[in-house]
């Protein structure tokens, strides 16, 4: 299964750091978005294996994007990458359908390990042997 990633953050430096880490782990960056609205549009167009999303962004935020993308694709694999590590915010993000949450500043390994779980879960499992 192709490891394709959509990266969303209003900060160019964060997008670059995520892209660098993901590429190092064999991911293909298929798109970027700077706010929630762009994230929804890109997701609909690209249907990546996974995406990262920030919460606080100008105009349309990450919560808006989460809602819209999960409505579009309930199986979307979305990692929230945000500096807002508050209990209620984490709860809300998971309630809306986020698959995981990484608090900024993050280290590369945390991100790549988190991404790898999607690969494992996306790969087709061998069919159980039929009973004879």
């Amino acid at each position: 299964m192709a490891k394709t990633l959509l990266v969303t953050d209003d900060a160019a430096i964060v997008r670059e750091k995520i892209k660098e880490a993901a590429r190092g782990a064999g991911w293909e960056i298929v798109g970027e978005a700077r706010n929630g609205k762009e994230a929804v549009e890109r997701y609909a167009e690209l249907r990546p294996l996974a995406m990262t999303i920030d919460l606080v962004m100008p105009e349309y935020d990450g919560i808006y994007a989460l809602r819209e993308i999960i409505a579009l694709d309930p199986n979307a694999k979305i990692i929230v990458v945000s500096a807002l590590g508050q209990k209620n915010i984490l709860k809300d993000a998971f309630k809306l359908g986020a698959t995981d949450f990484i608090v900024k500043p993050f280290d590369k390994r945390t991100l790549t390990n988190t991404l790898e779980q999607f690969v494992a879960s996306a790969e087709p499992q061998p069919a159980a042997a039929a009973a004879v």
């Binding site: 430096i13 606080v56 945000s82 508050q86 900024k104």
Partner: protein, 205 residues
């Protein structure tokens, strides 16, 4: 800095402890963000007359590079991260692992490096305060501003100016190893946020 004689100095003392704890969290985040190069210490938590605030903060008459985050809503406030031009450029270069840009303009990546620094620090502060007051605090997306420091601080203080003639300001300073850097993080809580923090700090165990 000039201190106002206020009957509730113990409140300022308790707030100072809260901000020291928040600064500790922000310092840990900053260390990770800058690969252990930079740390923060709380400099001052002070209530001062509005007309003296800008002078006391000693922002000078020069243009500064700043990142501003607002906490919108009644329980809110503002944060201003200030650098002189040279220090700002050096931080951006260090985060981008590139040579400092000495041109007149800041490119998108450089601005984003400083804005994200402000975002990480600001969120570290509000995360700590939220744990205390049990009220969600969400900062705005950061604003990158190059302007007179005094003019930016005025807009930040105006939210307090309507009800009082004094402002509570929390100032944090930055160090690189043993050297103090010419950067500051100012946090100006709204009156409602200040009250929420004071109430939470005074809650009986």
């Amino acid at each position: 800095m000039t201190h106002v004689d206020c009957p509730a100095n113990t409140k300022i003392h308790l707030l100072r402890e809260l901000f020291a704890s928040a600064t500790h969290d922000a310092s840990a985040a900053m260390c990770q963000w800058t690969n252990s190069l930079i740390r923060l210490t709380l400099d001052e938590v002070c209530e001062m007359p509005l007309e003296e605030a800008v002078t006391e903060l000693n922002l000078g008459d020069d243009l500064l590079t700043m990142v501003v985050l607002n906490l919108d809503g009644e329980i809110g406030g503002s944060m201003v991260l200030t650098f002189n031009e040279e220090n700002g450029r050096q931080l951006a270069a260090s985060l981008l692992q590139a040579e400092p840009n000495n041109g007149p303009d800041w490119n998108e990546l450089e601005q984003s490096a400083l804005m994200e620094t402000g975002n990480i620090l600001g969120c570290a502060y509000v995360n700590a305060i939220t744990r205390l007051i049990d009220h969600e605090l969400v900062p705005s997306a950061p604003f990158f501003v190059r302007d007179y420091g005094a003019s930016v601080v005025q807009q930040v203080l105006v939210a307090q100016a309507g009800a009082r003639d004094t402002a509570l300001i929390c100032r944090t300073c930055f160090h690189n190893e043993d050297n103090e850097l010419n950067w500051w993080l100012l946090f100006v809580p709204s009156l409602a946020l200040r009250q929420a923090m004071e109430d939470a700090l005074h809650k009986p165990e």
